[in-house]
C-alpha cells in the first residue's frame, strides 16, 4: 500500500499541464496501436490457401502371379502379405498378426491357401509342393470342405482387396491371347 500511496502522491505532485497528451498522430502509443490494427486487418483479409488433403496412397496394380512370384509376398523383409484362394490373390497385410510371420496362419503367406482353408488345417502338407506344377484343382474335396472354403472366400472379399490372380507357371498371359 505504501507503494500505491507513494505513486499517487508522485503523480499528483506533477504540475498541471505537464502530463497533458501530445496532440500529434504519431505518438509512440498511436504507432503501437496502428501496427496492431494493420496486422489484424492484414491477417483477416489476406487470401487463405485453398484446402488441400494429403495425397492418397497410389492404387495397387492388379497383376497375375504364379506360385513362384507369389512366394516373396509372405510379410518378411517388409513385404506385404498376400495369399491365394481359388485363383484370387488377396492382400491380407491388414491381418498381418494372423497371416504374417509368426502368426497362426503364417504358412499360408505367399502361397495358395485354398486347400488349407477348406480343410481347416494350417499344416505344411496342405500347400502345393511343386511351385512350377499345375495349380491345386481341389477336385478331391468334399461338400463340407468346399462350403468352408466358400465361407472363407466370402469373408476375404468383404475384408481384403483382390490384388491379382494366381495362374500356374507358364500360363501367364494365356488368358489375354485366348
Amino acid at each position: 500500500m505504501d507503494y500505491v500511496q507513494q505513486r499517487v502522491a508522485q503523480e499528483a505532485a506533477k504540475p498541471d499541464g505537464a502530463g497533458s497528451a501530445p496532440s500529434g498522430l504519431l505518438t509512440p502509443l498511436n504507432i503501437i496501436l496502428l501496427s496492431v490494427v494493420l496486422y489484424t486487418t492484414f491477417s483477416y483479409l489476406k487470401p487463405k490457401p485453398a484446402a488441400a488433403l494429403p495425397k492418397e496412397a497410389p492404387a495397387v496394380v492388379f497383376r497375375t502371379f504364379t506360385p513362384r512370384t507369389l512366394l516373396p509376398y509372405n510379410g518378411e523383409n517388409n513385404m506385404p502379405v498376400y495369399l491365394a484362394v481359388r485363383g484370387r490373390v488377396f492382400d491380407v497385410t491388414r491381418g498381418r498378426n494372423f497371416y504374417g510371420p509368426g502368426g497362426p496362419y503364417a504358412n499360408f503367406a505367399g502361397r495358395d491357401a485354398s486347400r488349407g482353408l477348406a480343410c481347416g488345417s494350417f499344416d505344411e502338407d496342405m500347400l502345393t509342393k511343386d511351385l512350377d506344377g499345375p495349380l491345386d484343382t481341389l477336385s478331391d474335396l468334399g461338400k463340407d470342405e468346399l462350403e468352408a472354403m466358400a465361407g472363407w472366400e466370402e469373408r476375404f472379399l468383404e475384408k481384403y482387396l483382390v490384388v491379382g490372380k494366381l495362374v500356374a507357371a507358364g500360363d501367364e498371359g494365356k488368358e489375354e491371347t485366348q
Partner: protein, 575 residues
C-alpha cells in the same frame, strides 16, 4: 528497495507515461479498430460446403488394372455399392420404408400429374408447363389436356401401325408429349436434332428406320423425304395457331407420296370427343428405347445412339441427386431448357425438373439464342440449361462493361474473391446492390424468382467453346446463380461428370485451352482412364482416354475418344 522493486517502478512509470499520450487520434484508431472487428465477426459466414469435400471430390478404387487408372466414383456412390440407377418410385400404398422402383419415363409424367407427394406445405402442388411465343407471349398448358394429347397421339400412331416415331421438332411441349406418348404406347422414339440440312434429315430417318414423323411445317423437307425415303408411312404436322385453318392433310401434287398418311396434331386432338383419352394406359412392358443423334463437329455425320429407358432414368436420377436436398428443384422453380432437347443432357434435366414438379417453359428459339438474355426472353426462369456459347457471349458483354471503370472492376474482383475464397455468395449489401443494379442482366428478374442455377455442358467432339473456371466464377458473380458445368458424350445419357453444386473455386492450373475441370463423375457413372499413346497412368497420377461405365451409359461402357486426367482434387479434366 531491491533491484526488482526498481524494475517494477520503472515499468509502472513507463506504462503510465505511454497511456498519458492518449489523445483524440488514439480514440479514433481504437474506435475504428473495434468497429472493424465487430463487422468482421458479425458478417462472418460459413462456406456452403466444407472445403475438404471439395479438396477430394471423387473416390478412386484401391486396385487398378494394368494399363488403366483406378476407377473413380462420386463420393456419394462409393465402391462396392451399385451406382445410382433409378428414381426410387414409391407406388401408392407401398410401405414407406420399402425400396422404390427404378421407374421409367411414364413415372415422370405420372409424377407431373400427381404433384408433390412428400408431406409438407407444398404437398399436392403441381408444376406449370408453359410455352413462350415470340418475345413476351406466354401460354400455359392445362395438365389434363396434355395428358389427353399424350393418349390421343400415342393411340393414333399405334392404330395406324406406327412403330418407330421420329420427332423432328424444335424445343416444344409437343416434342416432350410425343416422347411420353411413345413410352405409354410402346413405340420407339427417335429424337432428331432440329434445323438440319435436308440430306442430313433424310439420312437420319433412313439410319433410324423411322416409319412415322412428327414435325413442324416449314422446316421438314416433305417432298425430298417422300422421294428419297419410301419407308415413311405417317406424317403428323404440328401446326401453330396462325396456320391452323389451312388444309394440311393434302399431299402436295406430283410427289407420288400416296403411301404417306398425313394428318395434323391439332386434328388428332380436336376430332375425338372431349372425354376421350383422359386416362393413361399402364402397359406392363417397359418402354422401348429412345434413339438420339449426337451432333459432332459441323460436317461430320451424327452418331446414332440407342438409349434404353433405364439409361435415361439413371441420367435423370443422377441429375436430381446432383442438387443438394436443401436446394433441389421444387414447384417454386421455373426451368427453361435453353439448349436443344435433342441433347440427352438437356433432356435429362428437363425430365428431372418435371419429376420434381417444377414448372417448365419451352421456347423454340432459345437453343439458337446468342446470349443468355435472349435465351430467357419473355420469361424469368430460376433454373436454366444453357449452351456454353450463349454463356460465353453473356460473359463477354458484361465483362466489357465491368472492365470499363476502375470502380466496377474492383467491385467485381471483391465479389469474385468473396465467392472463390470464402465459398459463399456475397450477402446483400451496399456493394452487392450497386453491383447487381449496374451489371446483372435485367432479364433475370422477377417472377417466379431470381435465376439461381445454370446448367451447361461441354459436348465431347462437338467443338463447343470451353469455359474456364474464371469464366464460370465470373458468371456466378454476374448472374448471382450457381453454375454446374458438365462433360457430356454421345453414348452417355445426361452427363459423364459435372462440377459440384457448391464448387466456386477458381483454379489456376488449367491445362487445355483454359478449360475448367468437370468435377467428379455423376452418381450414375464411374470413370477410368485407359492408357493412350503418351498418356499413361502411373503411381503419380492418372491420365488417358476417358472410359465411362454405369447405368446411364448406352451399351454399359463407352470410350469417349478424348484424353483426360484426374486433378489433385480428384476431378476430371481434359488434357
Amino acid at each position: 528497495m531491491g533491484a526488482f522493486d526498481n524494475l517494477l517502478l520503472r515499468a509502472d512509470e513507463s506504462i503510465t507515461g505511454l497511456f498519458a499520450q492518449w489523445n483524440v487520434w488514439t480514440s479514433l484508431i481504437v474506435t475504428l479498430f473495434a468497429g472493424f472487428l465487430t463487422y468482421q465477426i458479425s458478417t462472418r459466414r460459413d462456406p456452403d460446403i466444407h472445403p475438404f469435400l471439395l479438396a477430394r471430390q471423387a473416390q478412386p478404387s484401391p486396385v487398378r488394372q494394368p494399363g488403366e487408372s483406378p476407377v473413380y466414383r462420386s463420393q456419394a456412390a462409393p465402391h462396392g455399392m451399385p451406382l445410382q440407377a433409378g428414381l426410387n418410385v414409391k407406388d401408392p400404398g407401398a410401405s414407406k420404408w420399402a425400396r422404390g422402383r427404378d421407374g421409367d419415363l411414364r413415372d415422370i409424367w405420372r409424377q407431373v400429374i400427381a404433384g408433390v407427394q412428400e408431406d409438407g406445405p407444398s404437398k399436392g402442388a403441381t408444376g406449370r408447363i408453359l410455352t413462350v411465343e415470340g418475345t413476351e407471349h406466354v401460354v400455359e398448358h392445362n395438365l389434363a389436356d396434355l395428358t389427353r394429347q399424350i393418349n390421343l397421339i400415342g393411340r393414333y400412331i399405334l392404330d395406324r401401325g406406327g412403330n418407330r416415331v421420329a420427332i423432328y421438332l424444335p424445343n416444344s411441349v409437343e416434342l416432350l408429349l410425343t416422347l411420353f406418348a411413345c413410352s405409354f404406347y410402346n413405340l420407339t422414339a427417335v429424337i432428331l436434332p432440329f434445323d438440319q440440312p435436308d440430306d442430313a434429315v433424310i439420312s437420319m430417318l433412313r439410319r433410324s428406320a423411322a416409319d412415322t414423323v412428327v414435325t413442324a411445317p416449314g422446316s421438314f423437307p416433305f417432298d425430298e423425304v417422300v422421294k428419297h425415303y419410301p419407308s415413311l408411312r405417317q406424317l403428323i404436322w404440328v401446326v401453330d395457331e396462325g396456320s391452323k385453318h389451312m388444309d394440311w392433310n393434302e399431299i402436295p401434287q406430283g410427289t407420288g407420296g400416296s403411301a404417306v398418311n398425313v394428318s395434323t396434331w391439332q386434328d388428332i386432338i380436336a376430332d375425338p370427343p372431349v372425354s376421350a383419352g383422359a386416362d393413361l394406359p399402364s402397359p406392363s412392358e417397359t418402354p422401348k428405347d429412345v434413339t438420339i443423334f449426337w451432333q459432332n463437329k459441323p460436317g461430320q455425320t451424327e452418331d446414332m445412339v440407342r438409349f434404353t429407358s433405364a439409361n435415361l432414368i439413371a441420367a435423370v436420377a443422377a441429375q436430381l441427386f446432383a442438387v443438394p436436398t436443401a436446394r433441389r428443384m421444387s414447384p417454386a422453380d421455373l426451368f427453361l431448357p435453353a439448349d436443344s432437347l435433342a441433347n440427352t443432357h438437356t433432356l435429362a434435366l428437363t425430365l428431372a425438373a418435371l419429376y420434381s414438379n417444377a414448372s417448365v417453359a419451352f421456347n423454340s428459339s432459345s437453343p439458337a439464342a446468342a446470349d443468355l438474355a435472349l435465351a430467357t426472353q419473355g420469361i424469368a426462369p430460376t433454373i436454366v440449361s444453357a449452351n456454353p456459347a450463349a454463356l460465353l457471349k453473356t460473359h463477354e458483354t458484361v465483362m466489357q462493361k465491368i472492365n470499363s471503370t476502375v470502380f466496377s472492376r474492383e467491385a467485381h474482383s471483391l465479389q469474385t474473391s468473396a465467392l472463390a475464397q470464402d465459398g459463399v455468395f456475397a450477402p446483400a449489401g451496399f456493394l452487392a446492390n450497386y453491383y447487381d443494379s449496374a451489371f446483372r442482366p435485367k432479364i433475370f428478374g422477377t417472377e417466379p424468382g431470381k435465376l439461381r442455377l445454370i446448367f451447361t455442358a461441354e459436348r465431347v467432339g462437338a467443338e463447343t467453346p470451353k469455359l474456364s473456371s474464371t469464366v464460370l466464377s465470373d458468371l456466378r458473380v454476374i448472374t448471382g446463380a450457381r453454375v454446374i458445368y458438365a462433360l457430356t458424350a454421345a453414348n452417355v445419357a445426361g452427363a459423364v461428370a459435372q462440377t459440384n453444386f457448391y464448387d466456386y473455386r477458381v483454379t489456376k492450373d488449367e491445362e487445355k485451352e483454359k478449360c475448367s475441370h468437370f468435377g467428379p463423375p455423376v452418381t450414375a457413372a464411374e470413370v477410368l482412364l485407359r492408357d493412350k499413346g503418351e498418356y499413361k497412368s502411373t503411381d503419380e497420377g492418372s491420365k488417358g482416354e476417358i472410359i465411362v461405365k454405369g447405368p446411364c451409359v448406352a451399351g454399359k461402357e463407352a470410350a469417349l475418344g478424348v484424353v483426360g486426367y484426374i486433378r489433385h482434387d480428384h476431378t476430371l479434366a481434359l488434357i
